[in-house]
Amino acid sequence: MSGILSSTGMWEIILNAFKQTLYMVFWSTIFSVILGFIPAIILTLTAPDGLKPNKLVYEILSFIVNVFRSFPFIILLVILIPFTRMVVGKAIGTTASIVPLTVSAIPYIARVFETSLRETNHGVIEAARSFGASNFQILMRVYVKESIPRMLNGIVLLVISLIGYSAMAGTVGGGGVGDIAIRYGYQQYKTDYLIVCSIILIAFVQGVQMLGNYMYKKMS
């Protein structure tokens, strides 16, 4: 077993992997937030207590969201290979793993945003209506604006679970800190890799949570 300090190249390998993790988590967060926002808005509008209640649309969309949420990530990873190839041009690699990460995160974020939006105080919506606000104005100026801190909390949870999933994405050649921890630390018995990777992941999650808490306080 090589000592931490003597292992030349370890820091480089891990730094590189950390960049990959950041890359995967960053882009899949961005894409899933944008793409998850749309179904969240539709769910909020068509919910029984929404601005445009529509049972059929709500139930169908809700069902689709549930189906995608119930897929174990590792299965999704495999099923999506043809789709990933279509989107990115290849099915293996860091960029390619953004696709399954995003797809698994969309229904999650849709549900989280829907819940956040629907928690908006009904009285406030009523007040806006009483001043002659249009549905679009109520949606943007009341629902979305009032829900931003709650949605932010949801994003923090998402980022943290994406950090975890990105480790699994290593299995399709995604790389990242988790992948290094498994390949070097576990499979090659290099405990120092395992320890450093774990510490990095803990610090990363902790950092994201702290930043999220700070922003929640600022925003609400």
């Binding site: 009285g123 009523e126 209506r129 009483s130 104005q137 604006k145």
Partner: protein, 323 residues
């Protein structure tokens, strides 16, 4: 003026408004009072189109409130500010931004000097100039309602609708809010419609009041006429009049004091004149806006009744024999 004609409304199969007709004059503070579930909030929400009604018509200065005619309804809503029991402020906006919000809905710029002055004047009117940049969670209930009042006035409405606006506040704070509403009515000429289950509110500020019970208007009139000695069973129950506990022997005669009437020593004068004694078995004095109104129940022998009534008539005192 708001004319409500034969308005009916049902939720599913329960009728909540059964043939309501009312007229609310310009410049009035008009109360709508009743037990919870009487339909008073629903009626108020029909007036500004938050709720649709099934039959009849509601005219606001001649324009019909019709929720299908979106454009027209929006213009009517602009003329009717509304405040609520739960204040309904946006948690993430400060006092200034909350007051400015309705202007944003109407595409009125809020950063011009005139707009800023207007918003600041309203905040001053409700006495919150020191809280301009506070968030609602930093304010007390009374302060929140003041912000809501300023917000409801920012589009220069002709009407202010109050839905149980003081029901969540304690009596002292309620008085402050009511005084503010009176000031707004007097100085800005805004017609105010107050929905409440609190007698205090009606007594303190309403010039006219409608008593609603089970979706019907039971009585309309000046609060002192309706409530000093109500004839309707439901209103008596609502006021929890103690008139059930009057003596069973002899006759019970009720005297009313309107305004200055209570300044005269009627009872002692009558006692001296008729050379007889009376039992005072029930009495009530109440403030209605600036005046004091009261009623008094005397118990006497049957034989004295005629003379007593004649005496009261000669002194212009209103009376009634209670059976």
């Amino acid at each position: 003026m708001i004319q409500i004609q034969n308005v009916k409304k049902a939720f599913n199969n329960t009728e909540v408004l059964k043939d309501i007709s009312l007229e609310i004059e310009k410049g009035d503070i008009f109360g709508i009072i009743g037990q919870s579930g009487a339909g008073k909030s629903t009626l108020l929400r029909c007036i500004n189109g938050l709720e649709k009604y099934d039959q009849g018509s509601i005219l606001v200065d001649g324009t019909k409130v019709d929720i299908k005619d979106k454009k027209n309804l929006r213009n009517l809503q602009k003329r009717m500010g509304m405040i609520f029991q739960g204040f309904n402020l946006l948690e993430r906006l400060d006092v200034y931004a909350n007051v400015a919000l309705p202007m944003k809905f109407w595409g009125i710029p809020t950063n011009t000097p005139e707009a800023k002055e207007k918003i600041m004047n309203l905040i001053k009117l409700v006495g919150l100039e020191e809280k301009v940049h506070s968030k609602p969670r930093e304010l007390s209930g009374g302060q929140k309602q003041r912000v809501a009042i300023a917000r409801a006035l920012v589009l220069d409405p002709d009407f202010l609708l109050c839905d149980e606006a003081t029901s969540a506040l304690d009596p002292e704070i309620t008085k402050g809010i009511l005084a503010l509403l009176q000031k707004i009515n007097r100085e800005m000429g805004i017609t105010i419609i107050v929905v409440t289950h609190q007698m205090e509110v009606v007594k303190q500020i309403c010039q006219k009041v409608a008593f609603l019970s089970q979706g019907k208007v039971l009585a309309v009139g000046k609060p002192e006429q309706l409530f000093v000695w109500p004839k309707e069973r439901e209103i008596r129950d609502f006021l929890r009049e103690e008139s059930d506990k009057l003596p069973e022997t002899g006759v019970n005669l009720k005297l009313f004091f309107f305004g200055e009437g209570n300044q005269r020593p009627i009872v002692t004068m009558m006692s001296q004149e008729l050379h007889t004694d009376f039992n005072i078995c029930w009495a009530k004095l109440e403030d209605f806006r600036e005046d004091v109104y009261g009623s008094l129940v005397l118990n006497m022998d049957e034989k004295d009744l005629e003379k007593a009534c004649a005496f009261l008539d000669s002194k212009n005192v209103t009376w009634e024999v209670i059976k």
